[in-house]
Amino acid sequence: MQAARRSFDIWSASVFTIALILFAPVISLIALSFGDSDGLWAHLFDTVLARYILTTLALMVGVSVVTLVFGVTTAWIVAAFKFRFSRVLDMIILLPIACPAYLVAYAYTDFFEYAGPVQGMLRNLFGWQSPRDYYFPEIRSLGGAVFVLSSVLYPYVYLLARTAFRQIPASFYEVSSIYDRNAFWTISLPLARPAIVAGLALVGMEVVSDFGTVEFFSLQTLTLGIFNVWIGMNNITAAAQIAIFTFIFIIFLLFTELYSRSQKRFNDTSSRQRNQQSKLLTGAPALVCICLCLVPVLFGFFIPTGILLWNVLQSIDVLVFADVFEVFQNTLLVSCLGAGIIMLISVLVACTSQMQGGKILRLAGNLSATGYAFPGTMLAIGVLVCVGLFDRLMVAVMSPFGVFHLSGTLVVLLFAYLVRFQAVGYGAVVSGLTKISPNVILCSRTLGMNAQNTMRRVTVPLIRNSIIAGGVLAFVDIMKELPMTLLLRPFDFETLATYSYQYAHDELMEQASLPALLIVLVGLIPVIFLNRMLRNTS
């Protein structure tokens, strides 16, 4: 007992240290926000603040509703029915998760805007001369952004809802059919609610911190406002204040997510319970199901990647494949390293804080995962401040022994990925842990294992799938990441996202398309792998 007590202390001390290091960039931003905002708030309040907040809320509500419809419908169909192609569809529905929202926005704009091929074709067909002759929905609008963001974000809801639907015991459905109630509304939806809310919270955070799409569509959200204040008014203090304000709002969402996850503990299935068998569908109903499932994938994956592919084929002679290949290797390198580090830290923090810790340790664990809530560029500035301080400390303490600087190395970038995407890995591990019965752990301890050995030999193997799932999501997220990579990378270091951006920024879609397409294609491999794994376990 004595030994166990001491090792517990070492482990929790390391969790506190890690949490502090991961939270440090956020602290830097908070410190930054205490400067002089130069009376800008009065101006913002009088002019644009209401617009920023309303646009952000409208975007969030819109995207939430659409992802809910897309995600829950597809998840329910896949979980409740079995039909021709249902196993393939099950995987295909996930594909949009590999598409960065801003690239989908670029692709759709080229395609749907007034000067794009769709409207051009319609004008040729009907002989219209100017925009006054007909109505066509504007893609660069709030509605367009809802469409684009929902199309790529619904898999978060789908993934979690599908798992929840599948875990509902068959006996519940039998009871509902005895009372002649609708199984979906009375059983599935209420029981899957924590999972669905968790998915929506992730979607909400993605929406609030999105910059690429809203900038491209010129939507005045809070995140765009941060940049107008920072760059336009040369006032980083007021910008940091808006970011903190947004942060608090997102933290609220994050805790909704963690709270609803913690509820899941209660709908665990024991080994004796059967799960509901999928109902076999044929003919017209099966066809309807297939069509319903294909709609969101079409919007989120097939059309945008089709446009990118078309661009690549159009301009095949312009492209320099050798360049792209080197960039491609860089991307794989940082994504693998980043995802590996994230999972290592996530397992350490989550296992220690959830299995052994009290409230304070859990809070520290949760705080270490809040970086997700900031727009990438703002978080990157927080990271820069921390690394700068570290380097100065290094010079002060170490100069007699020889000094190296972190500034400008890959370490900075990997640290930034860790801070931002820790939430992804941590969330996955925590949700895995909630499914382990505490009895298993206690049993191992009773049999004489100490805490570390229990973690290594019992806990980690039991949550192996959650760890891989979190790692895959982190990998894909890092591959897609743009603003932090752009600002923090070492000299002459390009990833597919930054390489694509230098062209896309200038609206040179032809040159931007090949790296963009590669991001999507490479992202697909782990997603397919992940899906196969999840299916084998469920």
């Binding site: 101006h43 913002l44 002019t47 617009r51 704009t109 007034y114 000067a115 051009g120 001369q129 100017s130 925009p131 504007e138 660069r140 010129s218 940049f227 107008n228 920072w230 760059i231 336009g232 008014m233 040369n234 006032n235 980083i236 301009s315 312009v318 390293l337 560029t377 990157a380 500035i381 820069l384 401040v385 690394v387 700068g388 380097d391 100065r392 010079v395 190296f404 600087h405 972190l406 500034s407 400008g408 190395t409 370490v411 603003p483 752009l486 600002l487 923090l488 990378r489 070492p490 000299f491 002459d492 270091f493 390009e494 930054t498 230098q502 062209y503 920024h505 200038d506 609206e507 032809e510």
Partner: protein
């Protein structure tokens, strides 16, 4: 730890990505895309043997430089827009440059009084009109765009973009805050669509007939005229160029600059100055026009034939720093009128 060797290897690998400070390499923070500045850097390396390394980002490089402080590996800053240069100056991140050559090459109104930054190229914000829908001479001054006559005809990117903010700052400098706000209100009332896209997208919209008039930076015209995509060449052919405010008592067309400076804590200041000197010399100055259709900042360098063919024009002689100082007022007006 079970894999000490692996850990050592990884650490060594990560730290080795740090740029090695040596006399023959220059580290550059750039707000310009690599594909635009690489030709200059290649020419410089060929001439001097000094290798260059670049980080490109549109935002946040000044914050990066500040956070890195005296440990920063950066030597040279290259940016577009006076507003960004001013931020570096304001945050005291630049070292004064001692170079008679650069002072001789760049006129006083295009460099800072303390010689911390120098303009390297000029770009003018111009008006383009649809050849077949707007008669030549109907629009002469930037002020004309607020005329209700053009209601529903104008396309422009969002006001918060640096180019438009700088343009509005130049109008504040010329007419004062009130008149500038009235102009911005009039402009917004005349817009054919919600401000969106970049300058290229505005030209596209003219070609497709969505609007008749747009405000763009002059070099976009050249980029489109010589685009590899033949469609984009057609967009350029649909345009007339108007250099605004050229009348006898006109103040001239608004110009902005791209520029550069030396990082305060650079360990290679001599080489850094060498690069900037190279960029102000005739060879590189001509390259700015040839690659990106910008005007040379060095008045001794003649305009290329291509640029001359677009028309000669008088520039607004406002000291460029004034634009940056008025930037915040401009942004406030933009927020108020909803541009």
């Amino acid at each position: 730890m079970r894999y000490p060797k692996l850990l050592c290897f990884l650490t060594a690998f990560l730290v080795s990505t740090a740029s090695v400070v040596s006399a023959t390499e220059l580290n550059i923070y750039s707000h310009r895309q690599p594909f635009l500045i690489n030709p200059f850097l290649e020419a410089f390396t060929e001439k001097t043997g000094i290798k260059t390394n670049v980080v490109y980002s549109t935002k946040g490089l000044a914050q990066r430089l500040k956070a890195e402080g005296e440990n920063s590996p950066a030597d040279v800053i290259l940016t577009v827009d006076i507003g960004r240069l001013y931020i570096y100056q304001d945050m005291q991140l630049l070292a004064p440059i001692v170079s008679d050559k650069m002072k001789a090459n760049i006129p006083a109104h295009l460099r800072s009084a303390d010689n911390t930054w120098f303009g390297l190229s000029k770009r003018s914000r111009i008006i383009v009109t649809a050849k077949d829908r707007v008669e030549v001479g109907a629009i002469k001054d930037i002020e004309d765009l607020a005329d209700p006559r053009w209601a529903g005809k104008i396309c422009v990117r969002p006001g918060s973009h640096v180019y438009n903010r700088a343009l509005l700052a130049s109008i504040i400098a010329a007419h004062g805050l009130e008149k500038a706000e009235a102009w911005a209100t009039g402009l917004v009332a005349n817009l054919a669509r919600r401000p969106q896209g970049n300058d290229r997208a505005q030209v596209k919209a003219i070609y497709e007939g969505q609007c008749d008039i747009a405000i763009i930076n002059n070099y976009y015209f050249g980029k489109l005229k010589y685009a590899e995509d033949t469609n984009q060449q057609k967009w350029a052919q649909a345009l007339n160029l108007v250099f605004p405010n050229q009348g006898a008592d006109g103040r001239g067309a608004h110009v902005n600059i791209s520029g550069g400076g030396v990082a305060l804590h650079s360990k290679n200041k001599a080489a850094a100055v060498q690069l900037l000197e190279f960029l102000t010399d005739a060879e590189a100055q001509t390259l700015y026009s040839e690659i990106n259709f910008e005007y040379p900042a060095n008045p001794k360098v003649p305009h290329t034939a291509e640029l001359q063919s677009w028309g000669r024009f008088v520039e607004d002689q406002l000291p460029i720093l004034r634009i940056a100082e008025l930037s915040r007022d401009a942004q406030k007006i933009i927020d108020r009128v909803g541009w």
